[in-house]
């Protein structure tokens, strides 16, 4: 719909803007001294009103022929045809008005006089419609700029949002509590393993904090973090948790948003392994082919487990992060069948440049004064 028609107040203003044009037309029709001014008004006012509404039809035409992306011949041709049609219809409308007018006393031979003015009216109408067309393009360019700004802003908000959620989810406190409990247990029975577990926990925390501060990392780094995480969980779950890898070595240099897979790997443990009596394998498959990077994650899923809150959130989070980076070139699919949960992501394979890129400076939070 035409933006002018979207709101009543806009339409009113628009029609008000045509008042001077109606006056101009009236004056133009009265100048040749062929007719009294009231006749000029009786023709000029309806013609201006008609032009006002006919101009609205320029909107879909201008929208359909974007100035930068159209074939110039088609662009000019279409506008020329539209201009001729508009002026023709407009002149015929004027003729019909005079034909009706001359039935009234005082307006005799109105049509004859109008015929004499037709050529100059045609020129005037053509100029009018041309200005209207240009104004439409101006309006469209304003609107496009605003839309583009809005989309950028939205993407930024989304990215920041996803980042915040990722940071919050980064170190799941229950993962820590359970890990520490395992350390406490090992300290009595196997002190050497307790020490190893401490180091594993510390390494994982340090690395996830470091990676979480960056926007983009190499898939290899992300997979390494997942391995560290799963190694810790293996201490807790023992034989119930197995890990299988099938990773294309070509893929490890590809760029991925930091901690993209981590929530999915955590889901696989907390919603998959932890709810399964016998456990099973978490399988990570990575392929790189035809410019695409495909990552798949499989884990056992007990169909009888209580409905979980949170796993859907994790997937939505991954999807929105990918969508803000590759709006039209990403895919996230998940399904659960035969006791297996499967999720796969697909994104453009872009090698992360080896040159050191400035990573985002850590945001230092100033200690704020608490206001009572």
């Amino acid at each position: 719909m035409h933006p002018v028609l979207a709101r009543r107040v806009r339409l009113d203003l628009y029609l008000l803007a045509w008042l001077p044009i109606a006056a101009l037309l009236t004056v133009a029709l009265a100048i040749p001294d062929r007719r009294p001014w009231w006749e000029a008004l009786a023709i000029g006012a309806p013609l201006a009103l008609a032009a006002a509404f006919m101009s609205l039809a320029q909107w879909p035409l201008c929208r359909g022929l974007p100035i930068e992306r159209s074939n110039p011949i088609r662009f000019l041709g279409s506008h020329l045809i539209s201009l001729m049609l508009s002026v023709g219809v407009w002149l015929l409308l004027g003729a019909s008005i005079t034909l009706v007018l001359q039935r009234f006393p005082g307006f005799a031979d109105s049509y004859e006089r109008y015929r004499l003015d037709a050529p100059s009216l045609a020129v005037l109408g053509a100029l009018l419609f041309m200005v209207v067309t240009m104004l439409h393009y101006l309006m469209i360019s304003f609107e496009d700029t605003r839309d583009a700004e809005r989309v950028t802003l939205q993407a930024q908000v989304q990215a920041r949002d996803a980042e915040l959620r990722a940071l919050r989810a980064q170190v799941n406190p229950h993962f820590l509590f359970n890990g520490l409990n395992a350390v406490a247990s090992l300290a009595g029975s196997d002190p050497a393993r307790a020490r190893t577990m401490c180091v594993m926990l510390a390494d994982f925390l340090r690395r996830s904090l470091a990676l979480g501060g960056r926007t983009e990392i190499m898939l290899g780094e992300e997979l390494d973090l997942a391995d560290r995480y799963l190694a810790i969980e293996r201490v807790r779950f023992g034989d119930r948790l197995r890990v299988e890898h099938d990773v294309d070595p070509e893929a490890s240099r590809c760029a991925v948003p930091a901690l993209l897979l981590q929530p999915l790997v955590e889901n696989a443990v907390t919603h998959g392994i932890a709810h399964s009596l016998t456990g099973g394998a978490i399988r990570i498959t990575v392929r790189r082919a035809a410019g695409r990077l495909d990552i798949a994650l499989d884990n056992p899923a007990d169909p009888d487990r209580p409905p979980s809150q949170g796993s859907g959130l994790g997937i939505a989070n991954v999807r929105s992060r990918l969508a803000s980076l590759h709006p039209r070139a990403m895919r996230v699919d998940s399904r659960e069948e035969d006791g297996t949960f499967h999720i796969e992501l697909s994104l453009p394979a872009v090698e992360k440049d080896t040159a050191l890129r400035p990573t985002r400076a850590p945001r230092v939070q100033q200690p704020s004064q608490e206001v009572a």
Binding site: H174, A182, L186, A274
Partner: protein
């Protein structure tokens, strides 16, 4: 104290069980009679070994700690042991002796045992199942029904249930061609299930609306509900009113 406290440890993580066993070893009045890795084993062991005290993890496969408690057929003191603090309130509502947050200190465990010693031997007024039912979080409708049949536990998803029939003190749950008997009244179960899905169409029948094919007149003032698989159930006048309210015709 001559009589030793028989304790059962239920946790799906071997290291967590091992830690509890180690901490308990200095308390000579406590004897760990068994360790269980999941809820099913726990139910079996409670029946066979008749422990006085249960150390119960909440997050476990198949049956969580609360569900284990709901299915227990005897009164037993419970100390919950978990990494999650959000269940603490619910645990105390069902009169758990104590609630240990992982990781915990030996001193904290000693405190919990002091509480347990005071509790053991004093039967609680309400059965565990009743307490659990009362403490259901936010009175949320259950989406699965647990049925204990000797040593086996069946988990029946609410969506799988066709209808539930009252049989004296029991209910017979008809689900996907199978029947399960549960020691519970129909009104009790009706209260737990989603009221938008399950309708009491008759004093003795609770119907899953998804299974209803059509209603047919039977005699003056009475109707039968025909299910999608062709089975027919009687509909009382009050039941018909409730059905109409739900379907909106």
């Amino acid at each position: 104290m001559s009589e030793r406290i028989k304790a059962l440890i239920v946790d799906d993580e071997p290291l967590a069980r091992q830690l509890l066993r180690e901490y308990l070893s200095i308390h000579h009045d406590v004897e760990v009679v068994a360790e269980c890795g999941n809820g099913f084993e726990a139910l079996k062991s409670v029946t066979e070994l008749e422990p006085d005290l249960l150390f119960l993890d909440i997050q476990m496969p198949k049956l969580d700690g609360f569900e284990v408690l709901e299915l227990l057929d005897r009164d037993v003191a419970v100390i919950f042991v978990t990494a999650y603090d959000q269940h603490a309130l619910r645990a105390f509502e069902i009169h758990a002796v104590d609630y240990l947050l992982k990781p915990f200190s030996p001193e904290r465990l000693a405190d919990a045992l002091t509480h347990a010693r005071a509790r053991i031997g004093k039967p609680s007024a309400l059965s565990a199942a009743q307490l659990v039912a009362e403490a259901r979080p936010d009175r949320r409708a259950v989406d699965r029904i647990l049925v204990r049949d000797q040593a086996n536990v069946h988990v029946v998803a609410a969506a799988q249930v066709d209808y539930i029939e009252a049989q004296d003190d029991y209910v017979c749950i008809h689900a996907e061609g199978k029947q399960y008997l549960k020691n519970q009244t129909l009104s009790d179960l009706e209260e737990q299930l989603d009221e938008r899905r399950f309708v009491r169409i008759h004093r003795s029948y609770l119907l899953n609306l998804d299974r209803l094919a059509r209603l047919e007149p039977y005699a003056k003032d009475s109707r039968v509900a025909v299910l999608k698989d062709g089975r027919e159930l009687p509909v009382s006048r009050a039941g018909y009113t409730r059905l109409r309210e739900l379907i909106g015709t």
